[in-house]
Symmetry: C2
Subunit: 124 residues, 2 copies
């Protein structure tokens, strides 16, 4: 595994750690500042401003009923200063699939887009 | 709009045209050959081989009951040889959101990942 792929996987893991630890400061750092950011939550529509996107995460992190995410099966594509991780999530036992987009900002891989959607169990 | 953004939007439009015209040859050309490809259909799990991904599209294109897709609201991010389009789809009237990833191969923007998920109307 090359250094860029390792760094992207570390950024992806940091995103899930911030979520599971309800760490709003880290979640804010993880998302890109200058690149456009967008987000699609399970069953949700496209959010297209950083303000909307961060508000959606902060609401989840503040919700005591929010389940933790177990992540696995990461598939990584890196080209220059953009990268994608597709992965599987179990959110409080519910299977979800996610597409995470990262961009390189000031030498750090920052999240620019997250798309999560539930998997219907019958379609495995 | 710069030339790369225009070219990525044209590739995104070509993908939806191929789908709506049930054009299997174009759909095959549109997907990357050398880059890893992956795909998540609405309610579906992560498909991670070109063979699986193309088989899933060909099955849809061969299905006479498959509805057409009206696409809009595209948001584009381009960095070097990778690009993402997030957009809204109406598939036979059902609202869907999609994340489409493109990579530059031999001077052409080719699809490397598609993630589509239905939007629950109550959550807008």
């Amino acid at each position: 595994m090359d250094a860029a792929t390792e760094a992207v996987l570390a950024a992806n893991a940091a995103f899930y750690s911030a979520f599971n630890e309800r760490d709003t400061a880290s979640m804010d750092v993880i998302w890109a500042r200058r690149a456009a950011v967008s987000c699609i939550h399970p069953h949700g529509n496209l959010l297209t401003s950083r303000e909307q996107v961060m508000a959606s995460w902060f609401a989840m992190l503040a919700n005591p009923a929010q389940g933790k995410i177990v992540v696995g099966g990461e598939v990584v594509s890196v080209r220059g200063e953009m990268a994608m991780v597709a992965c599987r999530e179990f959110v409080a036992g519910t299977p979800v699939v996610a597409t995470n987009l990262f961009v390189l900002e000031d030498g750090h891989w920052r999240m620019a887009h997250h798309h999560g959607s539930p998997v219907a169990l019958a379609r495995g």
